[in-house]
């Protein structure tokens, strides 16, 4: 699942120094696939819930407890991309603020009934194989 997302990230962020998944929750497979395809890129996952983070830390991927509404900016410094899979819509705005502050692109893959929230000018719809992959905001400085 989310193979199209992995492909997109690997094709477009292969030169990134850091990629961060926000709100990793119960699944780390997407971050693992990205790391496998981009072994030189630092892949980091975060979640507000420390129990998820404890579960996910691996030798390859660093997992950090952090609340995106009150982020510890140094964790994200130098990231080229922050992405989130099916986040609650309430925390999309804090994600935008974070991405803007650190100068990283933000890619959100919303749940299907929250897609319409992204029908705004600042979001670019990403399409892959004719399907909507997610929504992107470009702030990249790195």
């Amino acid at each position: 699942m989310f193979d199209d997302l992995v492909e997109y990230v690997c094709e477009n962020y292969s030169r990134a120094s850091k990629i961060v998944e926000l709100g990793v929750g119960s699944r780390i497979d997407v971050a693992e696939k990205i790391k496998k395809s981009l072994p030189l890129v630092e892949v980091l996952v975060t979640d507000k819930d420390e129990s998820w983070v404890r579960k996910h830390g691996t030798g390859q991927i660093r997992a950090v407890a952090d609340d995106v509404r009150f982020p510890q900016t140094p964790i994200y410094q130098n990231a080229s991309l922050v992405y989130s899979i099916q986040p609650p819509f309430e925390i999309v705005e804090p994600m935008i603020l974070l991405a803007r502050r650190i100068g990283a692109d933000l890619l959100v893959v919303p749940r299907s009934d929250e897609q319409e929230t992204f029908h705004q000018n600042q979001w670019e719809k990403l399409v892959r194989k004719g399907r909507t992959l997610g929504w992107l905001r470009v702030h990249r400085r790195h």
Binding site: S26, F70, S112, K125
Partner: protein, 453 residues
Amino acid sequence: MLDRVVVVQGLAASPGLHAGRAKIVVGLQDAGRMMKEKDILVTRMTNPDWVPYMKIAGAIITEDGGTTCHAAIVSREMGVPCIVGARNATKLLQTGKEYTVDAKAGVVYQGLVEEILKPPGAAVQQIPTVIPVTSTRIYVNISLPELAEKVARETHADGVGLLRAEHMMLSVGKHPRLLIEEGGGQRMVDAFAEGVRKVATPFAPKPVVYRCLDFKPDEFLGLPGGEKYERDAGHVGPNPLLGFRGAFRYVKEPDVFRLECRAIRKVREEFKLTNVHVMLPFVRTLEDFRNAKKIMEEEGLKRSPDFKLWIMCEVPATVLLIDKFVQEGIDGISFGTNDLTMLILGIDRDDASIQEIYDERNLAVLRAMSHVIRICSEAGVTTSICGQAPSNYPEVVEFLVREGAVSMSVNPDKVIETKQLVAGIEQKLILEGMRKMRQNNGDAGVFQPRWPK
């Protein structure tokens, strides 16, 4: 000349400023005795038992913990300034002494530091946002129960028109069938009940409409057990949006649906939060509705003046048969404009090649909503909307108010804006009504004041 003496430093966990007297509290028994309103609570670490004292504190300082510890999370939800990881705070600060807590910088200063509390320019008065009272109720959509208290406090919403269950399921972290297989059904009941409680408490007595779990089959795949119970079970079809979901699913998998019902019953009966009501999503046929309702009744959720059952109106069949659904027994409907538009216009919402004609303002969609509102209004069934259309298009808001929708539910950042917009539309309607009345009474077109003689 600034005269600031830093006494303690730590991590800024909940931003804000506060000056007051410190209370060094080691144990809970001391807290009850020592803590007064607006005191600075200084302790090693908090846990849920400390919440009553955290609520009255003007600021909170803990020696241990990081930005996701209990004190940090709770203080942010409460909007109380908080510094965590402040080493030796219980030794360096003294009970009864005054300090200034700058929880933006993570610093505690000795005494009252006026230039921090009242920075230059602070005297300029801010014009408060006027939140009008509207006849059309403006509800809020909530996905994350942890934020409900803040949303209730800041938006002044008239209730919750859509409480989504999907993120509660993600928090549980397993496919519900896997949970049941492992004997963990009660875990889901408890987690959902707790999530709903977190929303219903700050909003009480205002209504909270809980929408039953509406994951599409592919959205379950991310959860452990998802592959087995969705893909292997043959539920993931070519278009999951039109697949194994909604009321049909509840009837086919009643054991999972019953867990949700038990959670709602627990909230209503054990937590005494009777402001919680239920909404069934993606209702396709009368039979599905009837059967789902029967399961709810078996689980103790029976319609009454105190407990309302809503359905989402997002399938054309529900629009065409709305009179039958009313007869069958519903208390409310809420338009899900995303799916309704998709199905009326025959547009796959996920197919990028035809999105340019996807438009919730299409006349066919508006006519469908108009028809449903009319039938429901005649029958005394409440009408609402929880799709994105009112947030994206002001003209849809005006259309709904004019048609007589009782409420609309929008995202938290749109509540105040929508209230202001609706207030203007309602005033315009009143004015139009008055003008019409005058014309019908044969008044002249120009206003003639009647001066007292």
